[in-house]
Amino acid sequence: MIKGLFTSGSGMIPQLKKQEATANNLANSRTTGYKKDALFVKELSKARQKVADRITEWQRPMLDDIYTDYTFGNFDKTGNPLDLAIDGEGFFTLQLDDGTHVLSRAGSFTVNNAGQIEFPGGALLVGEGGPIPVGEGQVEVGADGQVFSNGALVGRITPVTVADLMQLEKLGNSMFLVPEGTELLPVPASPIQQGYLEASNVDVVREMVEMIIAFRNFEANARSLQAQEQSLEHLFNRVAGQ
């Protein structure tokens, strides 16, 4: 029975983590190019294994996996020539100060003082053959990713992706880190839309439901813990009373 207390208690912890992930999704419901996270709790898969292996002991629920949902967000029209959205699969390639390449779906760019297209926070947008020098000209980006400055071709943006999106690691700053040795695959078929930004793919209603579920699961585990404690109390009182 004391073991039951631990089981119920450890059932509460993943629900807290779920709530944290939900809170993070909600906090980023307006973040350009944000991709929502969902948490899985191990319980179910372990239960299945238990039946197969005839293990009678109930496994404690654990956090198993976090899954980033890469479904596309809606497009918001901004009309800003340096706001770009990828209409389909793929990411923009950004170059950090130390030369590392990272990926992002957030296409709200500016031009830095060297005339190159820059990501908010300082990373450079990388096209075919490095950063894209647009200088002081009017920037036009075609659906095929060709970048023109005052009508002259200065570079080309090709969206890239990886074979397994699960390999990507969220880096913060709306960036995704590609693990070393992973090949970047170009996705030239995804058109680039100038003057649009991809909104966060967080669905507020869904997150609200997730939050209620996590809360009630948490509560149910707490109730069950309390019920066990009450039983223990009865037991102790009866033993003591005799």
Binding site: E136, D164, E169, L171
Partner: protein, 262 residues
């Protein structure tokens, strides 16, 4: 105690800044030459409970990591450099720029700042100044006996002087452009200053390649669109609200945990 509270609080703080920014845009809906600003959000650091590719028992690797984020933050405000509508005023010293470029203004301390606000005046000495009395650069002095002032689309200032048949050329207004106008530092009073990231000003003649045209007798209105800002405000308010719900839920969970021990 529960990270969710701080995470959701970061969402509330960001939305609060968003509303502050919208309020500033709305309050400048009638400000000459005002460019509306937009707030950009990014997600922040993730706490990695387990990185992707970590080995677990039996030599297998976890296919994806386990990381929970710490919320959101405001990373930048960028100004939308789109053209504002022109309003006819018929005042000869109301100038507007159609296209790229800024007027150069000399601050009282001698430094130079930049503005799109072309509502110019003449001070007691005949110098062309901004509404705050700062000198327009290059300096132009209108003679006392001038009867009419004409500013060409190329920025050439000419006057008719009483008793003379020919026009007199007084000077040429130059415009400044920047590689990264978003990097300019807003000083208030419709003025902006250069920074390291804006790049140095590129001076040129109005109407020439890349530079906007000057129109006399017009003022450039603010490019704020009230309807857009109202919609943004509603969205921001709802986002603020939902983050507060996340805090409440986390707090309720904490309350339950605390009440486990009766």
């Amino acid at each position: 105690m529960i990270k969710a509270m701080r995470t959701a609080a970061s969402g509330m703080v960001a939305q609060q800044m968003n509303v502050d920014n919208i309020a500033n845009n709305l309050s400048n809906v009638n400000t000459t030459g005002f460019k509306k600003s937009k707030i950009e959000f990014q997600d922040v650091l993730y706490q990695n409970y387990r990185r992707p590719g970590t080995s677990v028992a039996l030599g297998s690797q976890v296919p994806s990591g386990l990381a929970i984020g710490y919320g959101t933050r405001v990373v930048a405000t960028s100004r939308e450099q789109s053209q504002g509508d022109l309003q006819a005023t018929n005042n000869p010293l109301d100038l507007s720029i159609s296209g790229d470029g800024y007027f150069q203004v000399q601050n009282p301390d001698g430094t130079i700042s930049y503005t799109r606000d072309g509502a110019l005046k003449i001070n007691a000495d005949g110098r062309v100044v901004t509404a705050d009395g700062y000198f327009l650069l290059p300096e132009i002095t209108i003679p006392e006996d001038a009867t009419a002032i004409a500013v060409g689309t190329d920025g050439v200032v000419q006057v008719m002087v009483a008793g003379q048949d020919d026009v007199t050329e007084l000077g040429q207004i130059e415009l400044a452009r920047f590689l990264n106008p978003n990097g300019l530092l807003a000083l208030g009073h419709n003025l902006a200053a250069t920074t390291v990231v804006s790049g140095d000003p590129i001076l040129g003649t109005p109407g020439e390649a890349g530079f906007g045209r000057i129109d006399q007798g017009y003022l450039e209105m603010s490019n704020v669109r009230v309807v857009d800002e109202m919609v943004n405000m509603i969205v921001a308010q709802r986002a603020y609200e939902i983050n507060s719900k996340a805090i409440q839920t986390a707090d309720d969970m904490a309350g339950i945990a605390n009440n486990l021990k009766r």
